[in-house]
């Protein structure tokens, strides 16, 4: 597969569009778009390479949703009314009391691969919304909050729905992950949901280490050729399931730390996965000041450090959950962004790395597209 590469980076102070040819050595940086605003996520869809969506937020001005139909040259503000369906329910607050659901921002956007006007949004306070009209209007899939939502409790980063994984072979099946609540699956297009957290063990975070909900899932991913296998970076522990979340087991193996945020799977090797170990939840930087991506070619347990081109001393950045992506070129490209404003690329499955940019604002999200 040949084509140009477009990396979409959302940051604390705007969005940036980074482009290159398939060699991924020389890059053009375009931005900031929406300068001064937090861009939690900017993404596109293979259904229309020119269609982009961005979640633009501000502590002053709230949520704005942006859509582009010309690959980011121009943008249009679309619908930003995320109204929870029905009577506003309550969830568990930090002090154990019940607290009403309050919309704060959109963390994650997941467009359909076939219909550019169909897109899901994961929001804080945790809920899932869908738009069928290109983001003009949004409807909540409220069945999700019915799955013991009163027991969900925000973690330090807020009670956010940050991951949406759509099954490639079944349009009615979808997985979502919610910080400090867990992973959930629907088999009917989002009407009803069930928690899929069996096997997760959160002894340091939960009174009941194996509770049905309450696990702090940081991200999950799937290879499209293995729709029943998912990989998870939990608060602590790297996990995998081979039965669509019915049972998880730990695959942290020889990682120097199994705390982290993103997890990604190679585009062509469904058993090759990537994580970025972080020392702990108290530190939020890499062990020993060395920025290392870890790769397992065995679907977990056996991990190797990837360091060539990454700083191996005095590095104290973090990599957020939505800030890692892979491309679909023949030599698979891996990308991640840091809280220090670097976006790194490896054009050879992680063996060698180079920075695309050094000095962006803290990076919140990274996506990549191959443009024919």
């Amino acid at each position: 597969m040949m084509g140009n590469v477009r990396v979409l980076a959302g940051t604390r102070k705007g969005a940036f569009i980074l482009t290159s040819d398939e060699r991924r050595q020389n890059w053009t940086v375009d931005g900031p778009h929406f300068a001064g605003w937090e861009i939690y996520h900017i993404t596109g869809t293979s259904a229309d390479p020119k269609r982009l969506y961005a979640s633009q937020t501000s502590g002053w001005f709230g949520q704005v949703m942006q859509r582009s139909d010309d690959a980011g040259k121009t943008w249009e503000a679309v619908g930003n009314d995320f109204a929870y369906e029905g009577v506003v329910e309550t969830h568990k607050w930090y002090d154990g009391t019940q607290h009403p659901w309050e919309f704060k921002r959109v963390w994650h956007l997941e467009p359909s691969r076939t219909d550019p006007d169909s897109i899901y949004a994961g929001v804080e306070d945790a809920a899932l919304f869908h738009s069928a009209d290109g983001g003009k209007s949004w409807q909540e899939l409220s069945g999700l909050r019915g799955v013991k939502g009163s027991l969900w409790q925000p973690g330090a980063g807020g009670m956010c729905l940050h991951t949406i994984v759509m099954s490639p072979d079944n349009p009615d099946r979808m997985f979502v992950a919610i910080s400090a609540a867990g992973a959930f699956r629907t088999e009917d297009g989002g009407k009803t949901w069930q928690p899929v957290n069996k096997g997760l063990h959160s002894g340091d975070e939960l009174p009941d280490a194996e509770a049905e909900v309450g696990h702090c899932v940081h991200s999950i991913t799937m290879h499209p050729s293995r729709p029943n296998t998912l990989f998870m970076q939990k608060h602590w522990d790297v996990m995998r399931t081979d039965d669509s979340g019915e049972n998880w087991h730990e695959v942290s193996g020889n990682l120097p730390s199994d705390f982290g945020f993103p997890i990604a799977v190679h585009a062509h090797e469904p058993e090759t996965i990537y994580v970025v170990p972080i020392l702990s939840d108290s530190y939020h930087y890499p062990p020993d000041g060395k920025l290392r991506v870890y790769r397992s070619r065995t679907g977990g347990n056996e991990w190797e450090a990837l360091t060539k081109g990454l700083p191996q001393k005095d590095c104290y950045v973090n990599v957020f959950r939505n800030a890692m992506a892979v491309d679909s070129l023949e030599s698979c490209g891996i990308y991640f962004g840091t809280t220090g404003g670097q976006v790194y690329v490896s054009a050879d499955s992680g063996d060698n790395w180079m920075p695309i940019v050094h000095d962006l604002p803290p990076v919140l999200s990274v996506e990549v597209q191959i443009i024919p």
Binding site: A35, G36, W37, S58, G59, W60, F61, G62, Q63, V64, A77, N80, D81, A83
Partner: protein, 99 residues
């Protein structure tokens, strides 16, 4: 009535305007009627000044007239006649916040 409204920098960018905006506002001219007209003329600003459901001012937004803070005045109270006459600006301000 023509009311002139000043927006904070980020909302001017969002609305694609470079200076104050002029709005046709029906009487009585109040905070609510000014904001209704603003959102009708510039739909991209819906939800950025006030909550779309409750219509309450966002916590870090303030409203100023004559360099006086009108933020906590009732939404339906008439604004000063000079605002309604277009002689005085209605200023929407992003509050100073943070460390």
């Amino acid at each position: 009535m023509i009311v002139r409204v000043v927006l904070p920098t980020h909302l001017r960018t969002l609305a694609r305007v470079t200076s104050s905006v002029e709005l046709e506002v029906s009487e009585p001219v109040t905070q609510k009627s000014v904001l209704d007209s603003l959102e009708a003329a510039y739909p991209m600003l819906r939800g950025t000044v006030r909550d779309p459901a409750t219509k309450m001012r966002r916590p870090f937004i303030r409203f100023y007239v004559f360099d006086q803070d009108f933020s906590d005045e009732p939404l339906d109270s008439p604004l000063p006649a000079e605002v309604a006459a277009g002689k005085e600006l209605f200023r929407i301000v992003g509050a100073m916040a943070g460390g």
